[in-house]
Structures are given as C-alpha cells and as structure tokens.
C-alpha cells in the first residue's frame, strides 16, 4: 500500500506543484502587502470628512467589488497593452497588481469597519482631555482598531490565496497552472488535482485554525 503511494503519480507531481505553490504564496503575500497599503489609504479616505474624498473611495470600492477578479486580471494583462500605457506588464506583475487592487477594496472596508467599531466613548475621552483629533486617532483609536483588523485580514489572506488560482488564465506559474501543465502531459488529472487541493488546504486550514485561536485570544 505504502509502496504504491510512494511511487505513485501523487508523489511524482509534487516537485512540480511545489514550484507552483511557491509562486502562489509569493503572489498572495506581495499582493496583500501592497493591498494593505492601498487599502489603508482607501479606508482612511472612506472615513474622511471631505465628501469628495469619501466619494472617490466609495467609487473605487464599488467598482472593484462589483467586477469579477478574473475580468480584472484579464483587463490588466491583456487590456492594458504596451501601446496603451507605455510599459509591458508580465504575468507575475499582472497577478500581483490584480490581487493588490482587489484586496485593497476589501481591506478598505476592513479598516473602516475596525475604526467604526471602537466605541464612541473612546474618542470622546480623548477629546475631553484636550487631545487633537489627529492625536486621538493616532494614540487611541488606531491601536485598538488595528487589533480588530487582524482576524479579518487573515480571512482576506485565505480569500486572496484562493483567488490566485484564477490567474492560471494568464499563464502565471501558480499552483493550479502548474497542476494543469502537469496533467496535460501525464493525463493523471484526478491525482494531480487532488494534490493541488491538498497543497491549498495545507496553507488554508492551519491559517484558519490559527485565526480562530487568535480571535479568541484578542477577544475581538
């Protein structure tokens, strides 16, 4: 039994699939890193006193959340041609940009929600002590809000990680793409896709379990 598994197509595909997994993780982490920066900016804009800035933020969020990520990445990779924007975008860049833009819209709402969730009494206490609005945000609201962002950000990580599988359409060498390349040659479709699933789960399940524990610990 063990023998058959060890020399089976399940194991043979692994080195190939691991390369894909590395690419998947790279795209996800880079995308979320930039996505957090962009998302924080959009989220802060969403909280702005200026109606104009708020509107820009809302338009961004609605456009991104209202269109499929598959369309977004095709748009970035095939739609934004060199003729149009002056630079050529390779598959990896397109994938990272797509995750960035997409995750930023959701992260913006996470940021806004976390700031809103801090009780009004906190900012009132700060203001009543004479702290400026900025200092109240900086020393009182943000540190508490940031803690509440961690679980939903972890959740966004899992979502974005799975979203990267759609990028096989632009032939970026992520996990699903590598799986397809592999079974196109070996015709071991079932075995390969099963391994692909297991590799995704190897990351998503521990992340989810850890998040659940963290959520209890942070008491948010």
């Amino acid at each position: 039994m063990l023998d058959t598994i060890l020399e089976s197509p399940y194991i043979d595909s692994l080195p190939f699939l691991f390369d894909g997994l590395k690419m998947t993780v790279l795209i996800t982490f880079s995308g979320l890193f930039f996505g957090f920066i962009l998302g924080a900016i959009v989220g802060i804009a969403r909280l702005s006193k200026s109606k104009f800035i708020r509107s820009i933020s809302i338009v961004y969020i609605e456009i991104v959340r209202g269109t499929p990520i598959l369309v977004q990445v095709l748009f970035i990779y095939y739609g934004l041609t060199e003729d149009l924007i002056g630079i050529s975008i390779n598959e990896l860049t397109a994938a990272i940009v797509a995750i960035t833009i997409n995750a930023a819209a959701y992260i913006a709402e996470i940021v806004r929600g976390a700031v809103y969730s801090i009780e009004k009494g906190q900012s009132e206490a700060g203001r009543s002590l004479g702290l400026t609005e900025n200092d109240t945000m900086r020393y009182i609201i943000w540190p508490q809000a940031f803690k509440r962002m961690i679980p939903p950000l972890g959740n966004q990580f899992v979502i974005s990680l799975k979203d990267t599988s759609l990028f096989s359409v632009i032939a970026v060498g992520e996990l699903l793409y590598m799986g397809k390349q592999y079974y196109n040659v070996t015709y071991e479709i079932f075995e390969t896709l099963l391994m692909v699933c297991i590799l995704y789960l190897l990351i998503t399940i521990p992340t989810s379990l850890y998040l659940r524990r963290l959520e209890r610990k942070l008491d948010v």
Binding site: E119, A125, G126, R127, L129, G130
Partner: protein, 240 residues
Amino acid sequence: MITVKDLHKSFGDLEVLKGINAEVKEQEVVCVIGPSGSGKSTFLRCLNLLEDITSGHVYINGEDLSDPTTDINKLRAEVGMVFQHFNLFPHRTVLENITLAPKKVKGLSASEANDIGIALLKKVGLSEKADDYPDSLSGGQKQRVAIARALAMNPKVMLFDEPTSALDPELVGEVLQVMKDLAQEGMTMIVVTHEMGFAREMGDRVIFMDEGSIQEEGEPNQIFGDPQNERTQAFLSKIL
C-alpha cells in the same frame, strides 16, 4: 467661572435643551438632578463642546465656547470630564491612561508625567495598580482611574456625568469618597447624579432639570426639604 446664557441644543428636529441659563462660581459644587432623558448629559457635554451648541452662549473664564476663534483643545484641557462608563483606554496601562494627555497635550516629559500620574494614583488609592490594564480593575477602581486621568490635566473645573450609575452598589462609596475629597480641596464641580445623599451633603447648589429646561435650583436643603416646583416634588417623591 462658568456662565451659560440661553443655551439651546437640538438634534435634528428634537430640541433637547430649551434655553438654559446657569452660573457656576469658582470652588462651587453644583449637582444636576432630573429624570432620564431630561437633557442633563447633553447640558454637560455642551460645556466642553462634545456637543456643538445650537444657539446661545457658554463662557468659561470669560472665553466664549461658541466663538469659532476659541481654541477648543486648550479649553477642553482645562475642563475635566468623567463619564458614566469610564471610557478608559483599554490598550494602555492605568498609569499610561493618566500620562497620555499631559505628554501629548501639555508636552510634559515622560518622567514629569509619570510623577504626576503616580501622585494622582496615590490620591485615589490605586498606587499598586499603576502597571495593570483597565480590564483587570473593578468598576469602582476604573472610575477612580478615570478621575485621576482627568485631574492630570490640572483642570479648572470637573464635569461628572453620573459617575456612579454603572457601578455595583458596594463600589459607589469609594468613588463618592474621591469626589468628596476633591470638593473639599476646592475643585469646581458640576455633577450629574442620582446620589441624592451626595448632592445633599456636598452640593452648594442643586439644579433640577426636566424636559430640557432648569425647573428649579437652590440650596440642597431647600430643594430636598421644600421643593417649590410641582415637577421637582413629583420627581423627588418618586426617588426618595
């Protein structure tokens, strides 16, 4: 030191304060009583502009709060406020709760602010809690920290909005004691409270509010012993 002239406050169509006139002198302790929803909190919150004023004037040491050139943050620093639900900063230790504003608003160094914080914790009897987080304190301890936090800015007047209403009965006394000490030291205080014993003992004056106006005001003995206004009589007969 505080003069309120024809103060009106509306939330949308709802007029909550309907022309308040009041005067609080230095070192005076004024207690505000009245049924729930009568506008007591709103009145107090207008005194440090946590609510903006719809019309009328509030003067603190001669400065007009409704004048847009008044430096609101500076003024708030001189008006301490204690909330019903404490509103301590949960991510900061007890001592840090107290030292944050002196450092950020007054620009004190960490050691200067710590000295003030430690002295105030001693005053409210919580020296040993300096490095604990608010979550680990009882309600009474939280409220004493909140009082120390407000005092750290060295305010000229302290506003208390039902400081003991959220406390278990056995914890009310320790907070009232801190407030009594403060009153005896000559702090100017405006206290919204349901603790009639405190109002009677410590109040120089009692204001009875109902439906957004001051219905009656006078010395505690008169208000509690010989109320003139029908509503005051009705309110007191219900709670005493």
